[in-house]
Amino acid sequence: MSDAVKQEEQLGMEPRRLPSASICCAIGWLGLLLALGLFGRWLAPYDHTAIDLLDRLAPPVGFGGSFAHPLGTDELGRDLLSRLLVSIQMSVLIACGATLLGAILGTLLGFLAAHVKGAVEQAILALVDFQATMPFLILALAILAFIGNSLVIFMGLLALHGWERYARIARGLALSANTQGYAGAVWQLGASPARIYLVHILPNVMATLIVSMTIAFPEIVLVESGLSFLGLGVQPPATSLGSMVGNGRDYLATAPWILIIPAATISLMALSVSLVGDWLRDRFERTGLR
């Protein structure tokens, strides 16, 4: 790191700024969410579906609640801390899975468009235009209406969000890589197209694709929570941050904590990913890894 800074100073470049406090907070928050997403289910004090009708709508600690339910309980007496942990896991799992699937799908289609010219390329580009034109939420709702819903369909559906961006980027980068010497050299050595694209071109375009993934991730979190909030995403007994907010909506006047806790979690998560994404983009641009 210090070598890199020295090198940049020698080259007369502006030395790389250390991440600011807000970026550190954002990274810390994301790390915490990721850890909770991986292990949270086993830290949960109660089962997330366990009902305790004698202890309904208990407020959180600090607002008259007890440490038996640190974040309070909902209208059926279910422990909100446990539900929050399970929901974080569900939302992180869905968003990570959908982001990865979308990146793989889009990148492969982009490479395909760059490799196979003609009708296939035009068809992929027309689909890219279509996807970029239509608001994704509307497409998602139409697919849910026609095909129905399950966790697998839902994740596959969210993977369709933003694939066109990877496709566009991967195609452009592959086209420019093809004009550079290295792809042609490997081709002359007799490598298969799959090997050229996946082993030689992919590592060179990875940085740009990762930055796109940080843009897609918060958008997918928002679409997932929005659909779940509308009751059309994750279905009970499974729970996600969006469905927790939807659930808390009816108790807005009497028990606002049911809604505020998951709502704050979603907002901070999306905000953090956005801040980190902007910061990553700046860094890549400064080091020339566009």
């Binding site: 235009d129 279509f130 497409l139 209406a145 095909i147 929005g226 059309l232 907002s267």
Partner: protein, 310 residues
């Protein structure tokens, strides 16, 4: 002229893809006759439906029949109230426009102003504050923002209604919730576009020859900064439509978005399909308007399309 032809061809292609998309998902849903007419339909009705939509034919014939039916304007019947799907959708459109148009106007006013203020004091406290607010406004989900506004203005302060559409005050919270996202997007774009322009030689020339700074901004910088900003009009309209779906459900506003969610939940496929085409048409129109504005704002583009070398 060529520009208009290409643009229209692309619009037609998008319409074709939207209709094909509806056809594919309708086929994937199983038997469209059952899906649209439901299980309770008498067998004769199912048979008649299959024949009229050509469902006993090969898939390619089915596709062409579907295209012909849709393009002739027959969008099916809503299974929930038995009326024409188009009528059901059309009567909700003005209700949605009543919140989306004010939201668009207000967000342009606030977003562009904030972007200009930020661009004139780059890296100042004001700039950072505006940009942080813009990132927050862009990332906070509209249902969270809407419900927090309800909590503050309806539950705690009790000055605004939390939902429904009985009075004009009911529209205030939905408009604000919808406008925040667009205002945030616009603020970011305006700032970026202006900073780009302020760096250009003609701005330096104008101030060097003694044109007052205010006039330089008004007559040189802003018109040029407006060119790239027009391109996000389509994006803004899409953002507003998606936002309206969520916001109308938060505030029980009886517009197109609420109809869409209710129709998806009850699988009223004719209405969902009609709404899909309606959104596609709106998006295509918005993009065409953006292209026309673009060519109006950018004389270079006008010269190259009209004169062709003149």
């Amino acid at each position: 002229m060529m520009f208009v032809v290409v643009r229209l061809a692309r619009a037609l292609l998008t319409i074709l893809i939207v209709v094909s998309f509806a056809f594919v998902v309708l086929r994937l849903s199983g038997d469209p006759a059952l899906a649209i007419l439901t299980n309770e339909a008498p067998p004769e009705a199912l048979l008649a439906f299959r024949q009229s939509w050509g469902l006993d034919q090969p898939v390619l014939v089915q596709y062409l029949t579907y295209l012909r039916t849709i393009l002739s304007g027959d969008l099916g019947v809503s299974m929930r109230d038995g009326r024409d799907a188009f009528t059901v959708v059309a009567e909700r459109i003005p209700i949605t426009l009543a919140i989306t148009i004010p939201a668009l106007v207000i967000s342009i006013a606030i977003g562009v102003t904030a972007g200009i203020c930020a661009a004139f004091n780059p890296n100042s406290r004001l700039d950072r504050g505006i940009m942080l607010a813009a990132v927050a406004g862009f990332t906070v989900p509209s249902f969270v923002l809407g419900l927090l506004l309800v909590l503050v203005f309806s539950v705690w302060l009790g000055i605004l209604p939390s939902g429904g559409a009985q009075h004009w005050t009911n529209a205030i919270l939905p408009i604000v919730t919808l406008g925040v996202g667009s205002a945030a997007t616009l603020a970011r774009y305006t700032r970026a576009a202006l900073l780009e322009v302020l760096d250009r030689p003609y701005v330096r020339t104008a101030s060097a020859k003694g044109v007052p700074w205010r006039l330089t901004i008004l007559s040189h910088a802003l018109p040029n900064a407006a060119i790239p900003m027009v391109t996000i009009l389509g994006f803004l309209v899409g953002q507003l439509i998606a936002g309206a779906v969520v916001v109308e459900n938060v505030f029980s506003w009886p517009g197109v978005g609420r109809l869409l969610v209710a129709s998806v939940a009850s699988r009223d496929l004719a209405v969902v399909q009609c709404l899909l085409f309606f959104v596609a048409a709106t998006m295509i129109a918005a993009n065409i308007v953006a292209d026309i504005l673009y060519s109006l704002f950018d004389p270079r583009l006008r010269a190259s399309t009209h004169g062709g070398g003149a």
